[in-house]
């Protein structure tokens, strides 16, 4: 139910004064209500649930999380090699 799918905003328009966007989900385009992310711009990533954008996806945070996990991985790797010696 609370499934959220990441998609990339292609264009923004208004329908009966409700903010809407065309959003690309890996090749499939859907109309999404972006009323609660008024600052959104084409090119932004968003998380969409039930045809409704929940938030703008923070790409810098995404990369930061992956790099932290990468560090865990590298630290673990070093420990492995120490044990290996």
């Amino acid at each position: 139910m609370c499934l959220g799918i990441p998609g990339k905003i292609l264009s923004i328009y208004e329908e009966q004064s409700t903010k809407m966007a065309k959003v690309d989900f890996g090749g499939v385009t859907r109309d999404v209500c972006i009323e609660v992310i008024p600052e959104a711009e084409p090119g932004n990533w968003t998380i969409v649930h039930a045809g409704f954008a929940l938030n703008i996806l923070d790409e810098a945070e995404a990369l930061e999380t992956l790099s932290i996990l990468q560090e865990i991985s590298e630290l673990a790797g070093e420990e492995d090699s120490i044990i290996g010696i």
Binding site: M1, C2, L3, G4, P6, K8, Q16, S17, T18, D24, G26, G27, C33, E35, V36, I37, P38, G43, W45, I47, H49, A50, G51, F52, L54, N55, L57, D58, E59, A60, E61, A62, L63, E64, T65, L66, L69, Q70, I72, S73, A76, G77
Partner: protein, 368 residues
């Protein structure tokens, strides 16, 4: 660099097998004793089983499945009310697809559709408004279920219908809220939950400012967690670290989507249309201020006011132990009907129906 990220990099990055292995190893290293951790969201229950993460975790971790499945917790009275409305002439009853097979006292929306009722599945609440606009001589009712994640979309449907001046659109308000359910679980004398994975998309809307007082009051760490394999493992690792260190804190393991204060515009939208009301949860009972009802100025959109359904006598299955499963007290396979009398094709309780129900997850991914 970030702006050049391609469409599937987000998914790929958070499904990296090598990183998954390393985070799993880290969890194994950090853990020294048994811990019971509840993932509140049913979507996470399914993701954990779909990716087989439960098989990779140390045996000391017991993942307890929470009540975060709106289809599962919608009260039988509301389901029966929906079934009654869907049977009326000149009514188009609209709902998310998950709801169609949920058993009411005597039948389900699917069987009403099969016998000629106008029951339509919508992807978005706004689609239901469009159906109302296109069918001015029919009453269009939307079953507004969901947690905080879905509440802004449900609110927007009401506002949109109001803007369009639609008098033939109404909703059956059934939204529920996570924090009151956490209080109920933690207040239970049978509670054994020591840490929570908080539902990432609920927090995308609400933030996690509501959680520090809960963590402090019940002395449980809470970690906001996403849905990809690495998100889930990072959430579990963070919870294990807090538990092992004896730290009662609220962490955010899903910062690319969730901020502390959440989406303020979405919260304003919810508050504009809805107000907290007491709501009954199927299998659990009434939880104070755990639901969203329409505010006075939007009451004309309330299907329960528009259709006088009268008193409905409900009848639950005698065998089904959905309530105990939803509270994390029992596992689906503890139920004598699991996989025999109760299957996704012939469910006794809602958790066997929903794509987020714990029973359906156990059935689908072969856990018994």
């Amino acid at each position: 660099m970030a702006s050049e990220m391609q469409s599937n990099d987000f998914l790929k990055g958070f499904r990296d097998a090598k990183l998954v292995k390393k985070v799993v190893e880290e969890i194994h290293q950090r853990i020294s004793r048994p811990w019971s951790i509840m993932e509140i969201c049913g979507g996470q229950t399914h993701a954990i089983m779909q990716f087989g993460l439960d098989q990779l975790l140390p045996k000391e971790i017991e993942l307890v499945h929470g009540p975060g499945c709106p289809v599962c917790v919608t009260a039988l009275e509301l389901i029966d009310q929906a079934l009654w409305i869907a049977c009326q002439s000149k009514v188009i009853f609209t709902s998310f697809g998950d709801m169609l097979r949920v058993p009411g006292s005597t039948n389900d929306l699917f069987s009403i559709r099969a016998s000629g009722g106008q029951v339509r599945v919508v992807y978005s609440p706004l689609d239901a408004v469009k159906i109302a606009k296109d069918n001015p001589d029919q009453e269009v009712v939307f079953f507004a279920i969901g947690f905080e994640t879905t509440a802004p979309a449900n609110a927007m449907a009401v506002i949109h219908a109001q803007k369009l001046g639609l008098e033939n659109f109404s909703i059956l308000p059934a939204n529920v809220l996570v924090p009151p359910a956490m209080h109920t679980i933690l207040n239970s004398p049978n509670n054994r939950i020591q840490g929570f994975l908080a539902a990432g998309h609920v927090c995308a809307i609400m933030g996690y400012w509501e959680y520090p007082p809960i963590a402090k009051r019940y002395q449980v760490p809470i970690v906001v967690t996403g849905f990809e394999p690495l998100d889930l493992l990072q959430g579990i690792l963070s919870t294990v670290e807090l538990l092992e260190d004896g730290r009662v804190e609220v962490n955010n393991a899903y910062p690319r989507v969730v901020s502390f204060e959440g989406n303020k515009a979405a919260q304003r939208l919810i508050n504009q249309v809805f107000e907290p009301v007491d709501r009954k949860w199927r299998g659990i009972g009434i939880i104070p201020k755990s639901g969203l009802g329409l505010r006075e100025e939007f009451r004309s959109f309330d299907a329960t006011k528009r259709f006088q359904t009268g008193e409905i006598q409900t009848q639950e299955s005698d065998i089904c132990m959905a309530g105990e499963v939803l509270q994390g007290l029992k596992k689906p396979a503890d139920c004598p009907a699991f996989g025999t009398l109760c299957t996704p094709n012939s469910p006794l309780g809602a958790p066997m129906v929903s794509s987020e129900g714990a029973c359906a997850a156990y059935y689908r991914y072969g856990k018994n």
